[in-house]
Point group: C2
Chain length 399, copies 2
Amino acid sequence: MKITSPRRIVGSNAERTRLHNRQVVLGHVSEQQPVGRAELARISGLSTQAVSNIIAELVEDGFLAEAGRQVAGRGLPALQYRLNGHGAAALGIEVRPDAMFGALVDLEGETLFTTRIALTDSAPASVAAAAREIRAGALVARPMKNQRLLGAGVVMPGPFGNVGISGAGQSALQGWGETDATALFEEALETAVIVENDATAAAVAERVRGVASGLRTYCFIYFGAGLGLGMVADGEVQRGAFGNAGEIGHVVVTPGGRQCACGNRGCLETYASRIAARTELAAAGIELASASDIERLYHENNPALMAWLDAAAAPLSQAIGMIENLFDPETVILGGAMPNAVLDHLIGGLSLAGGSVAVRPGRKTPRVMRGACGRLTAALGGAALVIHDTITPRIAAKT
Amino acid sequence: MKITSPRRIVGSNAERTRLHNRQVVLGHVSEQQPVGRAELARISGLSTQAVSNIIAELVEDGFLAEAGRQVAGRGLPALQYRLNGHGAAALGIEVRPDAMFGALVDLEGETLFTTRIALTDSAPASVAAAAREIRAGALVARPMKNQRLLGAGVVMPGPFGNVGISGAGQSALQGWGETDATALFEEALETAVIVENDATAAAVAERVRGVASGLRTYCFIYFGAGLGLGMVADGEVQRGAFGNAGEIGHVVVTPGGRQCACGNRGCLETYASRIAARTELAAAGIELASASDIERLYHENNPALMAWLDAAAAPLSQAIGMIENLFDPETVILGGAMPNAVLDHLIGGLSLAGGSVAVRPGRKTPRVMRGACGRLTAALGGAALVIHDTITPRIAAKT
DNA sequence: CCTATTAATTCAACTAACTTGAATATTCAA
DNA sequence: TTGAATATTCAAGTTAGTTGAATTAATAGG
């Protein structure tokens, strides 16, 4: 499966300038709302007149709404604006080997609709058909009258392409070969599509509506089928050269340690992941049937689960230290398909290294936080990617 | 010491559009040169007319030079353009606790002048004075008649600020407290200044004139005082939230392993770095006096050095696997203050993990390469940062 | 309570930079 | 030799941003 499209550095003209400036204004509104024209002009470096024109256009298009007047001190009270949730929405779709999840999310990050469709097989055609079904369902549930469908974010398990760790997890989709996933979904969904891995989507979801709101540089450790890392640096999502950045599950934390399906020994995934939990529980004769099993076992204080949690703490702490020293993020977020109680326990059990650039006076955020978006993170994240793209200015265009 | 200045998302106008487009054109010329106006219009997405105007301006300003006509098939042969090395230059300055290095590099990456100034102390005032001296020396050696000094890149040993690994290496500068390094150097050098760590500078140096030319996403493992990682993602330098990204030396590769000065156990730096080599050699009663000592010992097949090289191979391989899985770069480059022969030996001795997203069919670049810029990398890198900035378009402006 | 001051917003004229379409120049192919 | 192909330039037109003056609405101070 292919997903990356190299960026082309393109020039700008009046039209693209306006597009950029619209995004700039939207971005600042989403961060500062409610906010007035003059204030926006100051932070964006544009003239008041330009901001005024752009805001008029955005209100006209339904992206912004008036939000009263701010009476503060002398002078004409500023007319405030905020994002208009009803103005636009994005579709998020998570693809797993056995099922697909859909979510419709509005501009403000509000979830309007969610759905789940079981898959009998994960061949491209079946997935595309299910995607169409999700789209139709969403549009029936929330008929987009004046609303606009900004696009769709499709979340698929990485890694993409035939690389050294493909097939290591149970997550890989069969029969995708060299399929161009983006093109496939764009055709099926009749809208612009961004394809991403689950960890990245989750990271962005936290930014649009979660604990990362306001952060510009952070990482998200995602418990999915395996273990993934979503990275946002200076507001920009990091994908790597081939769309496979963030494969933290197969980073070796204990040389010569546990054998991993990828061939390496001592991969983080063999300690801190659902796979590891499942293995530990299976050894104790416990089969995990549904996702809620882990939560139940945790509340029962199940010894096998506790043993897994204990064993996961050190490798996970080590990995977090590594992330901190490599990325120097504002914070590291833990989340994904794992009960909050378990995530909290994991975070509580960490022993983070002192030798880290994250150890500094005057930290504002904790070194590690739990994600706020919960289980649906990935599908929501897909939508969040689209919203993020609408709101984050960028000049380099895709091919 | 402070160095980071948060980016502000600013709007664009006609003037900023032109600036952006100039950079776009310069960037494409530097990649494709020699190249004609029409071709540039196609790749930049601008009209021929716009490109034509911009090129006229760039020629006028001395950044571009005509390079004959391309006779290829029918039609009017395209007038070709290339970067004009003589048109502009950038100053690169590396600050070490005991000495400073300066380099003047032209637009094409050609080194015009280098110098070294010994430091008696590394207090801000002394460093600033030496910087002034370097600037003066460069301008005397290469009087910039029509040339323009684009700016200066100052390379300092990280980490920046008072963080968990400060003082672990012997590299830290004393007496800088909360000094704003950028402001200090801008005042001393009377030009725009970029402050970066050595690894990042080295990475960019390889892109401007080295093995990374043409790459957009890669990493550079830098042997300096400690060990650093420079990262370029989609052409963008990665600094992290506080300018300390890439502190790979203090990533734990062997839990419970060798004690590191930072407090951690098993840091990569205790195996693969000059510090590690020095320790290993000291244990064998050998003191390293100058940089060339390592080279001599290597050619003498010194057993202590060889033992160090052997011990470094596994941790380094593990770290490279980690980098690959986290960043998914096109390649990983090894370089810095280490003789080429030793770097080559290290690369030859690597046993890279099979479980890596870097293992893929149709790789064009090797997984690991040796840097081409040699010992002066850091100072050259400083200048390269400035040149890179001149040539790489970017809309988000600094505060 | 009135008036000067302050601040946001709008109006109207102006400008920079890009686009478009026609004209011109130069080469190759038939 | 002529026509097609391609690059470049010319000239007019368009978009979107800027500037400075006018308008509106609030507060502070006498």
